[in-house]
Each structure stands twice: as structure tokens, then as C-alpha cells.
Symmetry: C2
Subunit: 347 residues, 2 copies
């Protein structure tokens, strides 16, 4: 089984290195690794954020462990050359359409959230975000209005097949959890959302055991602040999912702890921490590697079918936290490597 390691920019290399140490410690037979260039690092080395060799490696791999992309040096590049294009390109080229973002408070860190402790500690939700369609990938461009004004445009759309696929992901995830699915849209304004809602309702016929509800996105943004504990699984489109999943992770508080997976039809997946490349602390050994370690755990679970080993990683992270391991973002002073040491010790 081939794992592609894409460390990327900023703190990416530091945190991926610790996740790799943890994977190595599990001594899983038959795992091989190849490293690839992505993001600003790839642009600087070879002139493109997602070079052909990287894309080729991604296609060959069973799973991708991804650090982070984003580099202030690249801010003034044309959009198609910016680091973020690596992640968008990988999602599109590999058909990685189902982005899973669990948000749950670690009991030891319940006070880290800006939300009141009783509100934050009730959070245990999963956002299932579609990542192959919507206004992200529709036709877009600059044009002139009839009066000669500059105008930017982007076409938002979903077809029934795209919605059906992600709806099944949402229902299946809900079935494996607490049996509640909330579909988020803006059907009072958008035709794209109206189709979304119609198709989610059609798919729900296959899941009589899952309780389906619908919520407008503005209300969902309110409810995620007021009472995030009400949610089990949220399924939503690419644009709304981008916003709500970041909001939900911040509700948890310790964003350095949150992992994510993005899967395609053959369970090939890209695994990454939800935080960014943090250029301000890059290279200083201050980054918290736990979100990346937990992403490696998700990788073992979803793409490599090694649930036992995934459980071991998760237990080791929980144990390290319980034993007091705290990086700077968690109010402690432990370095990136020391946090890796703590997980290894707990394994």
C-alpha cells in the first residue's frame, strides 16, 4: 500500500514528519511512502502548485497524507498558480468529493473554546461537505456588462447525481453515529439548493432509520453558536460546507486537534489537518502535530481498512493529552517533536 506524503508549506513539513514517526512506530507491514511537492513549495521548486509528478503520485497512491498549503510569498500570483490550487486540483482530479470533518471536544481541552464550557463540551458532530462541485468548479471569469463595467461571475450548480452521492455519504455516516442528519441549504433563495433539497429527500427513502431535517445556512450558522450539541451529522454543499466546517472547528476551540478526510468513490482519500500552514510559526518547532497525527489515524481507518491501528492512534493522542502534553496552541510549551514523543510514548 502506497502512501503519498505531501508536506506542503509553512508548518506542513514539521507536522507531517511527526505523523510519519507515529505511522512508523505502528510497523504496519506493506506500507510504503513517497513524498511529493505541493503548494507554494512546489511553485517555488518547479513553477506549479500541483506539478504533474505530484498528481501522478497522488493517482498511484492508496492514500495521501497532506500537511498544509499557503504561502504569503505567493499572494500576488495569478489564482491558478497559488498554493490553494493544489488542494482544489487534487479534489477535482481524483474525484475526492466527500470531505468528512468530525468536530468533538477533547475533555481535557474543554476550556479552550470561546464558547461556554457547557455549550462546547456538548459538541460531537460530523460535517460531510461535498468538494467536487458547486460554485467552486462552475464556469467563472471576468466579463464586461453591456454598459462596459467590469463584472466577475461564477456559476453555482449541482446536478442530481452529485447530490445523490454526497447525500448517501451523509446518511451512511448518520447511520453509523446517532442517526440524525441535518441537510443545510438556502432553498428559499437558490435553485441549486432547491434541487439539493429535493434529491436529499428522495435519497432519504433508503434510510428510514435516519432522522432527516433541513436547515437554511444562515440559521445553521446561528445554531452552531447557540447550541452546537443539537447536531449529529450535517451534510452540505462545497461553499456552505467551507464556511460551516471552519466555524464548527473554531467552536471546538482547539483547532490544532482537528483532522479531516476527503474520499472518492474507491475510498482513496486525502487526509489533512483542518488548520492552515501557519507561516508565522513555520520552522520554529512550535506547531501542534496532533491534528496531522489524527489525520493519519483517519487514513488508516477509511482508506487502509485498519480500524484497530486507527483506534491505537486515537487512544495514544487522548492518553498523551491526559498525561499533560500541551503544545503552545494548547497553552503549553512543548515543541512539535516533543508532542510527537508524547504520542509515541503513549502508543
Amino acid at each position: 500500500m502506497l502512501i503519498a506524503l505531501f508536506p506542503g508549506d509553512g508548518i506542513g513539513p514539521e507536522i507531517v514528519a511527526q505523523a510519519k514517526r507515529v505511522l512508523d512506530a505502528l510497523a504496519i507491514p506493506g506500507l510504503t511512502y513517497e513524498e511529493g511537492l505541493v503548494g507554494g513549495a512546489a511553485y517555488k521548486a518547479v513553477g506549479h502548485p500541483l506539478p504533474p509528478e505530484t498528481l501522478d503520485l497522488a493517482r498511484r497512491a492508496d492514500a495521501i497524507l497532506f500537511g498544509a498549503v499557503g504561502d504569503p510569498d505567493c499572494d500576488s500570483l495569478e489564482r491558478h498558480l497559488r498554493p490553494e490550487q493544489a488542494i482544489l486540483g487534487l479534489r477535482k482530479e481524483l474525484g475526492l468529493f466527500s470531505n468528512l470533518r468530525p468536530a468533538k471536544v477533547f475533555p481535557e481541552l474543554a476550556d479552550a473554546s470561546a464558547l461556554k464550557q457547557e455549550v462546547a463540551s456538548a459538541i460531537d458532530l460530523l460535517i460531510v461537505r461535498e468538494t467536487n462541485g458547486d460554485v467552486y468548479f462552475g464556469e467563472k471569469g471576468m466579463r464586461k456588462t453591456p454598459e462596459g463595467l467590469r463584472e466577475g461571475y461564477d456559476i453555482m450548480s449541482y446536478n442530481e447525481e452529485e447530490v445523490r452521492k454526497i447525500a448517501h455519504q451523509g446518511f451512511q455516516a448518520a447511520r453509523a453515529r446517532r442517526g440524525k442528519l441535518c441537510s443545510v441549504d438556502k432553498a428559499n433563495v437558490l435553485e441549486t439548493s432547491q434541487l439539493w433539497r429535493d434529491v436529499v429527500i428522495e435519497v432519504s427513502a433508503d434510510y428510514p432509520d435516519v432522522a432527516l431535517s433541513h436547515m437554511y445556512v444562515d440559521n445553521a450558522a446561528m445554531q452552531l453558536v447557540r447550541n452546537p450539541g443539537q447536531f449529529d451529522v450535517i451534510v452540505t454543499g462545497n461553499m456552505f460546507g467551507d464556511i460551516l466546517s471552519d466555524q464548527a472547528s473554531m467552536c471546538v476551540g482547539s483547532i490544532g486537534m482537528l483532522a479531516s478526510a476527503t474520499l472518492n468513490d474507491s475510498n482513496q482519500g486525502l487526509y489533512e489537518p483542518i488548520h492552515g500552514s501557519a507561516p508565522d510559526i513555520a520552522g520554529q518547532g512550535k506547531a501542534n502535530p496532533l491534528a496531522t497525527v489524527l489525520s493519519a489515524g483517519m487514513m488508516l481507518r477509511y482508506s487502509l481498512n485498519l480500524a484497530d491501528q486507527a483506534d491505537r492512534i486515537e487512544a495514544a493522542v487522548a492518553r498523551a493529552l491526559a498525561d499533560g502534553a500541551r503544545s503552545f496552541d494548547l497553552g503549553g510549551t512543548m515543541s512539535t517533536v516533543e508532542m510527537g514523543d508524547a504520542v509515541l510514548a503513549a502508543l
Copy 2:
């Protein structure tokens, strides 16, 4: 000066009635009132959520005091007949493009937020949301893909003139406050946002005294949870503004207290509480009328140029709260009318 009263659905008539009492108590010479049907109430009476007589009254009025629209009985109507179309139609037909939503914690209610008290009490921000363009009003519809699949689509766009107008609103508001403007977009993905950002930067040349920053919408949703006190004025498009302004109001906690204004080029405005029609408590005298009372205050300030009278309303509301007036949503037992009484007593 003509004020159009549009009570609408659910608790709308109850809360508008209290705001009207407060306006009457100010005995402002030359104010006249006419009432119009909107929303589900209008649909049920005459078959359309925004009947021609209502639109005509709105055009003639100097300002509109709006209750709320939304009626579960109308959920299965076609979209163009649903109550929400009243508000969308008024915004579009009257050119009401600049939606102002102040969010600030009342000291007496600082504990009402799900956010920690020290986080919530630092909130003092204004969201300036564009409400005449974006994916709300672009071409939209259902079509078939080449493979015969149902597809919903909505075109998102902004032209430079639309962005320029709302950018000026944002900069002017920032100048009148703490001098900080944060423009929120998704320029790493959307061409519409790229134009937005370019034009906001162009307009900033006229406001060297305002500190301009840019933030992606996903990050803004995080920052509104993590540290909402960092914001002074946020300017953003229709879609992102819908989500972020609802999120921000929930951060404040007491959503029954928050007012809004939507202005056009001639300072004609629509004033409404940011909460909805609350059909579950309609007709029970339990609704909090203070957001509508404060909306009437904004109306006096922005459309009628009566800042002194607006100050009086705001002071009376603050006084009533300080004296212990609490409706059900604020943890008390006072009825809608009793809350109105409390404001009148404080005037």
C-alpha cells in the same frame, strides 16, 4: 413624512404595534402612517406575498417599519409565492442595497450569549451587507445536463459599480466608528470575489484614514467565534453577509434585541428586527418587541434625520433593561405589551 407599517406574519403584528406606541409617544410632528400587507398574511389575503398596493405604498413612503415574514402554512408554495419573497422583492424594487446590522452586547444581557462572557462582551461590530446583487438575484433555474440529469443553477456575479457603492457604505460607516473595515470574500476561489477585492482596494484610496483588511469568508466565520471583538465594520456580499450577520447576532446572544436597516441611494430605508416571525409563539403576547423598537430608532436616525429622537429611544430601551424589564427570551416573564410599557415608562 410617511411611514409604511408592514407587520407581516407570526409575531410581526404584535411587535410592530409596540414600536408604533413608542413612536406615538415621541409625538413627532408631521409623521403619518399607512399599513400594508406583506408575506404569508398578504398571500392569504390577496394571493401574493408582495401585492402591488404594498409595493406602491413602499415606494411612496419615506421609510418602512417591517415586522417579520415567514409562515409554515406557505412552505409548500412555489418559491415566488413564499413569504420571503416580500423582503427580497422590496430590497430589489426599491434598490435597498445597503443592509446595516449592528451587533453589540447590552451589558445587562452579557450572559445571554453562548460565548464566554469576556468574549461576548467585547462585541461591538457592524455588518454592512450588500442586498441587491450576488447569487441572490442572478439568473437561476432548473435545467438538464447533456446526460439528462436534473441540475439546479444560480449565477453569482457583481459588477464594479455594485461593489463600489457598498464599499463606500462600509468605509463611511468605519470612519464614523473606530476606523477599521474588514472586507470579507472568497477571492481564492471566486472571480466574483476577486473583482470585489480589487474594487474595494480601489475605493480605499478615498479613505486613507480607514484601516482596511481582507479576510476569507471561512476564516471570518472562525474569527467571529474565536474573537469577535477584533471587528469594527465588516463589509461583504449578499450571500456571505446573510450567513455572517446571523452568526454575529447569535454571538451577541439576545437575538430579540437586534435591529437592522436596509437603505437605498436616497436614504429611504426598510427597518426590521433581525429575528424571524416565530410562528410557535405568535399571538401569545410572548414576543420581545425591543428589536423592533430599536429598528424604529434606526429609522428615525437614518431615514428621517431625527438623531435626537433616535437617541431617546435607545436610551429608553437601555433604561428599561437596567430597570429589569425582561421578556421570555431574556429569561423573564414580561409580555410583549409589558415590555412596550417599560420602554414608554423609561422615555
